[in-house]
């Protein structure tokens, strides 16, 4: 395969981070591990990003709209044949470019943020492995390969959340994240196997879809498969009811939160649903369930973010909420044109990656300066101390809040339009979509409020610096502020560049073969992205109200006396709506009871076994006296035994 061919570029993009992971791991025992371990990751991500952008720029040379590379058979047993096959289509190419671009800047940021930490090389090795796994997840055409990469990103997430593994809370958070996502993955595995059966025993997604085009399965069966796949997506993308791991995952280093738990890994669920859009189109019930899960999560997480005092926790809940938005957009799959739903979700995914990575990195910059403290009650008024970080955080918060013309505004607006379109279609669920629209608007208001609450608490009012900063709190070095500025530019301009004027993203994504297939299978015929002035006006007003309220209440940078109406909801939010408590009573405690019962049974059983094992020992204790070391004694014993035997034989024969 010549190097200039697109597919070899894809293999190169995939292998660069893997090589970086190996290089960083090999560096770790040497004395360069503390100083040079970041080089492989930064170089690999930068090169991969360049290659991915090259691919996008050269896309017009690919006539078929999809490239599939069937490299080799991973394993085969009977009907099951699993190939290592990659597929590059507009959807995965977009994701690939986003992942490599964001991770390149985050890698650069981490070189400053992580300097001097213990396990410096370990951090960069796992980060490289994560980038490799994420690229593989996006590119995998085979469902089992996808599952492998899916678990690999989960593993990297586990390792990085537990990076400070000597801290008990970090270890517990890592375990929780691993177990909760695994709960969803059970559904994913079942769904994949069911899809394998439905899809004529194919394991490549493209082959399954081609088969399903010929052999349309029963509606109920495909709905079940969709819901099972959705379980995996919910776990990975931290949707209600499995979102609980993501806020705790903030125990990891901040670049990890930015890359894995905001920009890339948590969007894997959204990507999975978008990739399997044709399946979801075939089901009539699965999309509305996705929409309700997304809407519920968006509102719930926004409420939970209202009163948090940990800056990273606010951002984590905000991520959950924004992922809920994306799921809400995907929930309109069957009702509106699939291309519209996928474009809305992916557009929000891209802009969210920019501004949420920016927000997290800004929080990391603050945390770096504050000596590891991230509690908003401990510091404030950093506006003059950290001017660049302040401006970058402001850009991110404004984009998140949906300030007009910034990237978050456009993508959120597209999602709202999609939901409006779904409610206007007049299907059986149009009332539901209308309700979801209201929920999404309320969420927009709350989002503006909590993002600016965090901003004001951190950067306004009198300057307060915690004692942990040890008196030398300062603006971060260029290696950290540089990525912040780049991402801030993305958060400001990516939205307007990609969609509202040029429509380039929607036109590009609409050529994705799977999206076109979904369009063929769905009832919807035409689609267009049109700017809805009413919705834009309403959401802008809501954002303004939210920002205004936050400014009114928190502009002094310290918690104010809240109006009486807000107090109950804030206090509920502070206690996270008692959801952890409910989970504890409903799930953890019964399981602990079950574990105790199992322990009792196990002890009883193994006690019996031990008793049986003790009997020969006791007999041996009693018999060991005859082992006295005298050879003649043994010989006599043998002779007597022989004599008894002979007597017996002779008497038997004689009778």
């Amino acid at each position: 395969m010549p190097v200039s061919e697109p597919m070899s570029l894809v293999w190169l993009i995939l292998s660069l981070p893997l090589a970086a992971a190996i290089a960083a791991a090999l560096l770790s025992p040497s004395r360069f591990g503390r100083t040079l371990a970041h080089v492989p990751l930064v170089v690999a991500c930068a090169c991969a990003a360049l290659l991915a952008v090259t691919l996008l720029a050269q896309w017009h040379r690919i006539p078929s709209g999809r490239l599939v590379s069937q490299a080799w058979t991973w394993f085969a047993a009977g009907q099951l044949q699993v190939n290592v096959s990659l597929a590059l289509d507009p959807l995965s190419a977009t994701m690939l470019a986003m992942i490599t671009f964001i991770s390149a800047w985050i890698a650069l940021f981490s070189t400053g943020y992580m300097s001097g930490e213990r396990g410096y090389a370990r951090f960069f090795a796992i980060m490289s492995l994560f980038v490799f796994a994420m690229c593989g997840l996006v590119l995998a055409n085979n469902l089992f390969l996808l599952l492998g990469f899916w678990e690999l990103v989960g593993l990297c997430s586990y390792l990085l959340i537990g990076y400070y593994f000597t801290k008990p809370s970090a270890a517990a958070a890592a375990r929780k994240a691993f177990l909760v996502t695994r709960l969803g993955d059970v559904g994913l595995v079942l769904g994949i196997f069911w899809l394998w059966k439905l899809g004529g025993w194919h394991t490549d997604l493209s082959a399954i879809l081609d088969y399903l085009a010929q052999h349309r399965p029963a509606e109920g069966e495909i709905s079940l498969v969709c819901l099972l796949l959705l379980c995996g997506a919910i776990g990975k993308s931290a949707q209600f009811p499995l979102y609980v791991w993501l806020p705790d995952a903030m125990e990891g280093p901040t670049p990890v939160s930015a890359l894995i738990h905001a920009a890339t890994m948590v969007t894997a669920g959204v990507y999975l649903v978008a990739r399997c859009a044709p399946l979801f189109v075939l089901s009539s019930t699965a999309p509305i369930i996705i929409a309700w899960i997304g809407g519920t999560t968006a509102l719930l997480a926004a409420v939970l973010a209202l009163a948090q005092t940990d800056l990273k926790r606010i951002l984590a809940y905000s991520t959950v909420s924004q992922l809920g938005y994306m799921f809400l957009a995907l929930g309109t799959l069957g009702t509106v044109h699939p291309a519209l739903a996928v474009v809305a979700a992916l557009f929000h995914l891209l802009t969210h990656a920019f501004y949420k990575a920016l927000l997290f990195l800004s929080a990391g910059s603050v945390m770096h300066a504050m000596g590891g403290v991230i509690d908003l009650r401990a510091f404030g008024g950093l506006r003059r101390l950290m001017p660049i970080t302040h401006l970058c955080f402001l850009c991110g918060a404004a984009a998140l809040a949906g300030v007009p013309l910034l990237s978050g505004f456009w993508s959120k607006d597209l999602i709202l339009e999609t939901v409006v379109a779904a409610s206007e279609q007049g299907g059986p669920y149009s009332g539901g979509y209308y309700l979801l629209l209201l929920i999404a608007l309320v969420t927009a208001l709350l989002t503006a409020f909590y993002s600016f609450r965090a901003y004001f608490l951190a950067f306004w009012g009198a300057e307060r610096v915690p004692s942990e900063a040890e008196g030398h709190a300062h603006e971060s070095p260029l290696v950290m502020t540089g990525p912040l500025i780049i991402l801030a530019a993305g958060a400001l301009g990516a939205g307007i560049l990609l969609e509202p004027i040029t429509h380039s993203l929607s036109q590009f994504l609409a050529t994705t073969p799977t999206v076109q297939q979904a369009a063929q299978w769905s009832a919807a015929t035409e689609w267009h992205v049109h700017f809805n002035w009413t919705i834009a006006l309403i959401s802008t007003t809501l954002a303004a109200i939210g920002i205004g309220a936050a400014a009114l209440l928190y502009h002094r940078g310290e918690p104010q006396h809240l109006p009486a109406i807000l107090e109950p909801i804030m206090s509920l939010s502070r206690r996270e709506l008692y959801i952890e408590r409910v989970y504890h009573v409903l799930i953890v405690q019964p399981l602990e009871g079950l574990a105790f019962l199992a322990k009792v049974c196990d002890n009883a059983w193994s006690g019996t076994i031990r008793l049986i094992a003790a009997l020969p020992g006791m007999a041996g204790q009693w018999l060991r006296v005859i082992h006295n070391g005298l050879l003649q004694f043994y010989a006599v014993g043998m002779m007597l035994g022989l004599a008894v035997l002979m007597t017996f034989v002779i008497l038997r024969v004689a009778r």
Binding site: R624, H627, G629
Partner: protein, 144 residues
């Protein structure tokens, strides 16, 4: 006429003698010889029955047993040599120290006399063919 019963009787006598010797003697080499005697008694039974049945199987087995016994003798004598080097005695009851831990030792009412200093000195050398075996180093020097 030598009948089967004659052969069996000789075999039984050999076996009985070997058994008695094995149970009563304490010298390792004597015990080993007695064990060989028992083995030969059994082998004689094989040969006798082979003849009585007019078959070769028994004889094949005897040859096999004799060959194995020869190999076993080589091994056993080598072991005895090392045992002697350890304990400076051929008495088998010396090795009752190998009994199970915690079992009281069997007191020997009639132990072998300890080796005399002269016996300690004696180192047996193979003499050149046709010469009287040298008994002690002094005599050996004197003799040569």
């Amino acid at each position: 006429m030598i009948t089967l019963w004659h052969c069996l009787a000789v075999g039984a006598i050999l076996f009985g003698l070997g058994l008695t010797g094995f149970l009563t003697r304490r010298n390792l080499i004597t015990m080993f010889l007695c064990a060989e005697l028992m083995l030969q008694g059994v082998a004689l039974n094989f040969a006798a029955f082979a003849r009585w049945h007019a078959q070769m199987y028994g004889q094949v087995f005897v040859i096999f047993a004799v060959a194995v016994a020869a190999a076993e003798a080589a091994l056993a004598l080598a072991l005895f040599l090392t045992l002697y080097r350890q304990a400076r005695s051929m008495d088998v009851s010396v090795w009752q120290s190998l009994r199970e831990a915690g079992v009281p030792a069997t007191v020997d009412p009639d132990p072998l006399p300890p080796p005399t200093a002269a016996e300690e000195e004696e180192i047996v050398h193979l003499p050149p063919a046709g010469l009287r075996p040298a008994i002690s180093r002094k005599e050996e020097h004197a003799g040569v």
